[in-house]
Subunit: 329 residues, 2 copies
């Protein structure tokens, strides 16, 4: 295993410390239990938005704490759910009279722990469950996983929360964005979890993993590596069949790198995905290309499509000032 | 070789097309010859800033075209200098009466081709040569290489150009930023150039390449992989001995990923580097952490330090609106 680390036990702490020093103008780190929150307390009455999940997906979620997006994020150990006491401490730190909205990716541990925190919290609260990964059928036993669409949910309801929307409105809006969003990924290599010290799965030099998850979960199919056009057509077709965008509808197209795939390839993938939907009469109104929901050092990418209406477009465009997403302010 | 490509011959074109579609609100792509320029023409009399170099280092330089930074960038083939006709066409497209300043990384091909373009150009022009890589001695036959410090030169003179500084002032300022900047890198793996189809150098599972270049050039030493603290202390010591920042001086600390190293590790590296200089009484006034000057899919990082004075700090903080660096607007 070749990584820049001192010890597996201190990796997360050291990394969070570096993150908090590098972005001290935006966020602060609470050490015990771990959570990241804005340095400026939220306006009185604003709904507090809190997300979290296993670490190893940076910048998700800590990189999205700041004005116009999250109020706090709870990082768990690598690929491990954060604990209810993290969520509770974060909620108590940032709740400002408007209640708390949790944004939770659909993984059993995350769902359970956020549920416990929700029950322990003595203020109004609700949860938006993100399950945008269409590589699994809707009927899958634990449901679909939450992947790169999560940041789109966080950005859009973050903007609405900043504008003063109440808890019920934000919960409805979050569910609506989730329903309008579909993602699918492909891996060319596995990631290596530091505590394991070896790749999570074996894959040959001529194969790829279609429908891979963001924790190095195997996808639904190991297939022969083929041309970028064929790969992207496959991913986009599954997304398109699920989401069924209509001709002339506007969409947000997000090409996400898993960590080890160069930007040069991500832009090529973006071009192919954009062509796929443009050929179907869809308007690519907004784009986001880069490493946003990563899986440690996995080579691969995911494509996410969100169908936009005027409200969602306006909220996407609203100012955001976080470590990893910044515009309009 | 596992990459998302259709063919080696079309990779760059397809990638640039995707880049230009994804950022059509900021830049435009000229197809023949290749250059990227701002969609808004520069103000009359503004000095035009143009950079360029081999592709494979994205977002450098195309991601830094936009308000407050470059006017145009010329991407060569992968790890290959752009040609003089690209530079000349870019210069003719963006020159607005204030002359042209070329920002050139110190590689023989880049230096030669920018020199030819400079001679062919029939307007006042000057060149800032960036040579921040202190892994090579100052007496090295071709001089020191230009690496991740380049974006700091581009950002700072970009801000001054936007404020109306003239060609001579910008040339002096660019040289001053270059002199105040030192970088050094380490690789844990080689990159794979698509046209070669195999890693540029072989390195065992227990070794690293200290002082590596951004094209997969071997460093000055292949050594045993050790703890992150020891690695960063080594890099920082070489930089510190070269630049000799004084106690209480303010610096910009830039931790750059080469492409395949996760953000989680880059923040850990940032923490260690920040400690190194804080322990020596240096003030880390500004920070930048992420993949900015990459080397395709190489795992590794570089550290860059720039000694700031009030003017450089103000110019670094000035608004910038490019695909990959954005604040204050």
């Amino acid at each position: 295993m070749k990584k820049f680390i001192n010890s597996i036990d201190t990796l997360l702490d050291e990394s969070l410390l570096g993150f908090s020093k590098a972005h001290a103008n935006i966020i602060q780190l609470n050490a015990q239990p771990h959570f990241v929150s804005r340095i400026n307390p939220p306006k009185q009455g604003k709904v507090a938005l809190i997300s979290g999940g296993g670490s190893g997906h940076e910048p998700l979620h800590i990189g999205f704490v700041g004005s116009g997006m999250l109020d706090a994020a709870c990082p768990g150990q690598i690929f491990t759910s954060p604990t209810p006491d993290q969520m509770l401490a974060a909620a108590q730190a940032v709740e400002s009279g408007g209640g708390v909205l949790f944004i939770v990716k659909n993984y059993a541990g995350d769902v359970m722990n956020f549920e416990i925190a929700s029950e322990m919290l003595d203020c109004p609260n609700a949860t938006v469950l993100v399950n945008d990964d269409v590589s699994l059928p809707k009927t899958h036993s634990t449901g679909r996983r939450g992947v790169a669409g999560t940041l789109i949910v966080e950005k859009i309801i973050g903007a609405a929360a900043e504008n003063g929307a109440d808890l019920a409105t934000l919960k409805t809006l979050g569910d609506r964005v989730n329903d309008a969003t579909a993602s699918m990924g492909v891996a060319l290599s596995s990631c290596t979890v530091p505590a394991l010290g070896k790749p999570t799965f074996e894959i040959s030099d001529t194969e790829m993993e279609m429908g891979v998850g963001i924790h190095g979960e195997r996808g639904h199919e190991t297939v022969k590596l083929t041309s970028a056009t064929e790969i992207i057509d496959q991913l986009a077709s599954v997304i398109n069949d699920d989401l069924k965008p209509k001709k002339n509808q506007s969409v947000l197209l997000h090409v996400n790198g898993f960590g080890a795939t160069p930007l040069m390839e991500l832009y090529l993938i973006y071009d192919l995905a954009a062509q796929f939907w443009q050929n179907r009469g869809i308007t690519i109104a907004r784009s986001l290309v880069g490493n946003y929901t990563t899986s440690l050092d996995m080579a691969g990418c995911s494509i996410t499509l969100t169908i936009l209406d005027e409200e969602l477009l306006r909220l996407w465009d609203a100012p955001v000032h976080t470590a990893s997403l910044r515009w309009g302010c």
